[in-house]
């Protein structure tokens, strides 16, 4: 099916471990985004990418790494997970052009113990 998929949907990991969250889109949108959603904070941008091999920091990038070798994939890696990174993570994409509406994936619920 077309759209954005995220995997895994749920993940429990331990403090200090590396974990990668996957995002795949079938629309060939140039822009992709990673957000985290926490109670009281709303959605906050972690990183975004304007095209393959082009990435930039968002509002809360510390502790995260991204890559984009292919247009359709935008993985997010937590290099050494901390409890403060327990959150729900959403991937989104935006079509090319002037409109800035973004389309979101189903999310990954990550718990760091």
């Amino acid at each position: 099916d077309a759209g954005i998929t995220q995997s895994p949907r749920y993940k429990i990991t331990e403090t200090g471990r590396q974990v990668t969250l996957m995002c795949h889109q079938t629309w060939s949108h140039s822009y992709m985004f990673w957000y985290r959603q926490d109670l009281g904070h709303g959605l906050r941008l972690i990183y975004y990418s304007a095209a393959a091999d082009i990435t930039d920091k968002g509002e809360v990038p510390d502790g995260y790494v991204v890559s984009r070798s292919k247009t359709e994939n935008f993985p997010l890696t937590l290099e050494s997970a901390t409890r403060s990174q327990t959150s729900v993570y959403f991937c989104a994409s935006k079509m090319d052009g002037s409109s800035y509406e973004q389309y979101f994936g189903p999310g990954t619920r990550l718990t760091v113990t």
Binding site: G40, L43, L45, S99, Y100, E101, Q102, P106, G107
Partner: protein
């Protein structure tokens, strides 16, 4: 600093009882305002984009309006399936860095 504030945080309505959700913003370089619907355990679903004061958009029982300081999401004769969290976001441009800034949402519950 760009700010987006949504009110109320939560709203409970009887089925058929119309009401409005508010999204107020203080930003510079506004390029658009977006409304999303989010169901529990799911990602936000795009509803509307508004670009200029006075603009209105409608979809089924929902109507979004925009002024220079705030946006309203009016819900007319709501049904239980309209229960969700409604998110507002603004698109701003700051020194060439474009982004969406989200509010924390209004959790709407429609009681049958």
């Amino acid at each position: 600093e760009d700010q987006v504030t949504q009110s109320p945080e939560a709203l409970r309505l009887q089925e058929g009882e119309s009401s409005s959700l508010n999204c107020s913003y203080t930003v510079s370089g506004l390029r658009g305002l977006f409304w999303y619907r989010q169901d529990p355990g799911k990602g936000p679903e795009f509803l509307f984009t508004l670009y200029s004061a006075g603009e209105e958009k409608e979809k089924e029982r929902l109507k979004a309006t925009l002024t220079k300081k705030e946006s309203f999401l009016h819900i007319t004769a709501p049904k239980p399936e309209d229960s969700a969290t409604y998110l507002c976001a603004v698109h701003v441009t700051n020194f060439g860095n474009e982004k969406l800034t989200f509010g924390t949402g209004t959790r709407l519950t429609i009681i049958p």
